[in-house]
Symmetry: D5
Amino acid sequence: MSEKNRRLLLETFENPHPKRDYTIEIVAPEFTSVCPITGQPDFAVLTLTYTADAKCVELKSFKLYLQSFRQAGIFYEDVTNCILDDLVSVLAPRTMKLVAAFTPRGGISSTITAIHEASR
Amino acid sequence: MSEKNRRLLLETFENPHPKRDYTIEIVAPEFTSVCPITGQPDFAVLTLTYTADAKCVELKSFKLYLQSFRQAGIFYEDVTNCILDDLVSVLAPRTMKLVAAFTPRGGISSTITAIHEASR
Amino acid sequence: MSEKNRRLLLETFENPHPKRDYTIEIVAPEFTSVCPITGQPDFAVLTLTYTADAKCVELKSFKLYLQSFRQAGIFYEDVTNCILDDLVSVLAPRTMKLVAAFTPRGGISSTITAIHEASR
Amino acid sequence: MSEKNRRLLLETFENPHPKRDYTIEIVAPEFTSVCPITGQPDFAVLTLTYTADAKCVELKSFKLYLQSFRQAGIFYEDVTNCILDDLVSVLAPRTMKLVAAFTPRGGISSTITAIHEASR
Amino acid sequence: MSEKNRRLLLETFENPHPKRDYTIEIVAPEFTSVCPITGQPDFAVLTLTYTADAKCVELKSFKLYLQSFRQAGIFYEDVTNCILDDLVSVLAPRTMKLVAAFTPRGGISSTITAIHEASR
Amino acid sequence: MSEKNRRLLLETFENPHPKRDYTIEIVAPEFTSVCPITGQPDFAVLTLTYTADAKCVELKSFKLYLQSFRQAGIFYEDVTNCILDDLVSVLAPRTMKLVAAFTPRGGISSTITAIHEASR
Amino acid sequence: MSEKNRRLLLETFENPHPKRDYTIEIVAPEFTSVCPITGQPDFAVLTLTYTADAKCVELKSFKLYLQSFRQAGIFYEDVTNCILDDLVSVLAPRTMKLVAAFTPRGGISSTITAIHEASR
Amino acid sequence: MSEKNRRLLLETFENPHPKRDYTIEIVAPEFTSVCPITGQPDFAVLTLTYTADAKCVELKSFKLYLQSFRQAGIFYEDVTNCILDDLVSVLAPRTMKLVAAFTPRGGISSTITAIHEASR
Amino acid sequence: MSEKNRRLLLETFENPHPKRDYTIEIVAPEFTSVCPITGQPDFAVLTLTYTADAKCVELKSFKLYLQSFRQAGIFYEDVTNCILDDLVSVLAPRTMKLVAAFTPRGGISSTITAIHEASR
Amino acid sequence: MSEKNRRLLLETFENPHPKRDYTIEIVAPEFTSVCPITGQPDFAVLTLTYTADAKCVELKSFKLYLQSFRQAGIFYEDVTNCILDDLVSVLAPRTMKLVAAFTPRGGISSTITAIHEASR
């Protein structure tokens, strides 16, 4: 799936309380993609935390967006930053953080944390 | 139930130690409302933390107030902010925070955190 | 028991290292008092944290002091602040914090946190 | 809802491996009903364990069946045995056990365990 | 309170499903009595498990019955067997087990387990 | 992938201690397949326990075998029994048990347990 | 301390309910003795479980008895069996089990379990 | 190291209470060997449980014996049975069980359990 | 043992990386001393955290130093500050913190935390 | 293995998102080296956290690099700082932290934490 088509999967709804800087945390423990070198599946728990501006992400569309990576070959560091970029592009949040905690490979586990701060 | 009638359920008592800025935390693990789109029940653990000014919320009335959402169709982000607004309106606290941790739907769980700071 | 008599239960010993601002934490998980409205027993875990000045509280006397509330009818917010006031009055600590975590009633649990800072 | 209508909510599918006595465990942590005396909501985690004969219970219909108790006034002991009776009536399982672990009321929690053995 | 009066506190209701040998477990984590020698309070978690015959114990009356020990001076082994005897006398259950797990004293904790089997 | 081709993925090695009835437990927490109705991914932790006769399953081939279900549409009860059948067919173990613990869907989680006993 | 003097430390009280075979479990997490070879202290959690006949062990005397090993040089296997022998000698219990779980030494931890069954 | 030399590392001491069938459990969480195919290190927690007859294994010698596998290339199933065989050969225990819980490889973890019963 | 002799037990080694302000944390869960009033043993988990300057504490000597308190009669607050003073005197660290978490007495547990900051 | 050769084991790949200061955490729970004095093996969980500049460390090469310490005799404080130095030298990260949590020896466990900040 092209990067542009994937981003189109993300749907939004209007922030019902835009005057307050409140926080939305979404934990998606069933993320899976594929290692681009070995072809082996990778698994991660994603934790997204953001303060919405005008728009919030619709949960079912977010789930389908994440499922679009199921057969995608992509590295840990890359997929974490790409998901953050897609969400920032679609939601324009006030702040957003994404933590991707991957399960162990060769006895070693990795967690990638990327943060977006809106330029004010 | 109308928004106004719901707010009337909240009873208060006089803060017994108003000279000290102490903190009251109330955990209500049995909150349930209904998804306005699917009609499916939602479940959350609510954690309210506040510093009272003149008034404290009476616990039994708070429980009945929360139970008034049992058949209400309302979104996560909305109900969290509405409960905070109701409590701020009735108690006029010095500070108040509400965390609503909803159980997973489609494998994905959400936590909404909203904070009120009194304008001094 | 009168408030004055209760305070007399608290015994102290001289701070053996007054030159250093070290911290003493005391956890008393078996506190129980009575709800002044329903007459039902309440239960809490108390966590006292303080930096002593000239005096430290003697542990056995603190236990007996807490036991004096066993049949006392008193609200959560009140008893937490009263115990803090008694300890501040007897010890004159540099700083002191009391956290009282009450067990659930009607499915809802409460934790009261009160802090004393010495006026310097 | 009448008892008969509620039972009609339960849908089944054909056991795909009836020659083997294998076990199906279903955990439903979001069960809620109402106390018939106080009108207060009750909450329980239900754990159903059974060995199917010809039929298995369809999960979504089981969820809707459980949701039909949301406004029903019924005691702990009764609801546990009634759900077991309904499932036995619809599935005719080889064996079936239902454990209902209710959350605390007045500081006291209850767990009801009922077992059905097919008469052979 | 006399032993006879205490037993009168226990109320029952008719077993709604007497044909089935199902199990009722009740956990009461806030039991407290007094050591008859030192006068110090004791604390225990009580776990009652029984199969009812004609009668079940009513939960609120069980709570009040347990609270009647709040000022009673009685040893661990004695109170556990006495509570079991009272419940057996009032309910005539098919089987009944009581586990009383007392909190540590002098660094040592005790758990008493007593079982009643109906003579058939 | 055809059922026959999938079974060919399983490789074995000779049991190094066939005289002793020892137990091999293998936990595979990253199993994923697809719901044949909704097309949504399912996730499970598989726990295989067996006593080998002449042959043991080679771990890497078992991992690849499990990965062959990544895009397969198959129900919980079916996939658990099919994997057990494949392993029994290839290994002819003395005993074998497979437990598949699936993550929650609609707030409800399922665990399927199937056992094979060699006919002696 | 001689073995005979140590045994004299154990005091008993009359079993208040000798007609019932109930169980008494005592957990003593602060046992410490000394390794007879290296002179290094050993630490263990002792769990004693018994069914009393005519006599129960008094808890404070049991604590003092255990403290008498504080400077004693004795091996794991020996001390566990000796404590069991002393208790059996003094209490003549219907059954008794002692579990001694020692903390790690050289990265390796040991647990000794000894059981006494009365010869009837 | 030859199998014979390795076995010589195991030292024993006389069972101090041979008349009683008591149990000795030894947990060694730092076992490591090498995969004979990939050369990669393996890690396991070993739990040995036995009832001694005339001899007990000396702990320090057991630790050194286990360390002798640090550079040895050997499979999970093999090393578990070999260690059990060595211990049975040296100690001639009444019963003995060895559980070897290996850490995950490729997301999959294995536990091998082997039991020896003395032929009487 | 005199205070001076005890301090002589502490041995040091040269900090291998003095240019970097790195942190060393040492957890000693088997500390025991004696209450100077009751003669009863006390038990604590000590957690030492420091940034070395020229010298680090040698672990085995630290263990023997802590064991020298085994028969010493000393209060919680005193022993925590004394150990910190001894270590500061011998190591002259850049910063050092000692946390002593004592096990419960009379149902109440205490934790003492003392910090040393080098005067620069 | 010489220090220079060991460092050559570390391979890197280009940071795919160098414009963002995101964090990479790698947990390696199977680190083992040897005590240079006693020859006994040491075990640690390593947690590396860094913000990459131009280069990221390749995980498999990092695993092999860590395995090169398997037979190396080196102290806790030294190995932690050496690994940090090697990674800083090869990656030139913006910031990097290494935490090495060693398992207990003589009942005492150590954790070393070293931090590198790039000079800007």
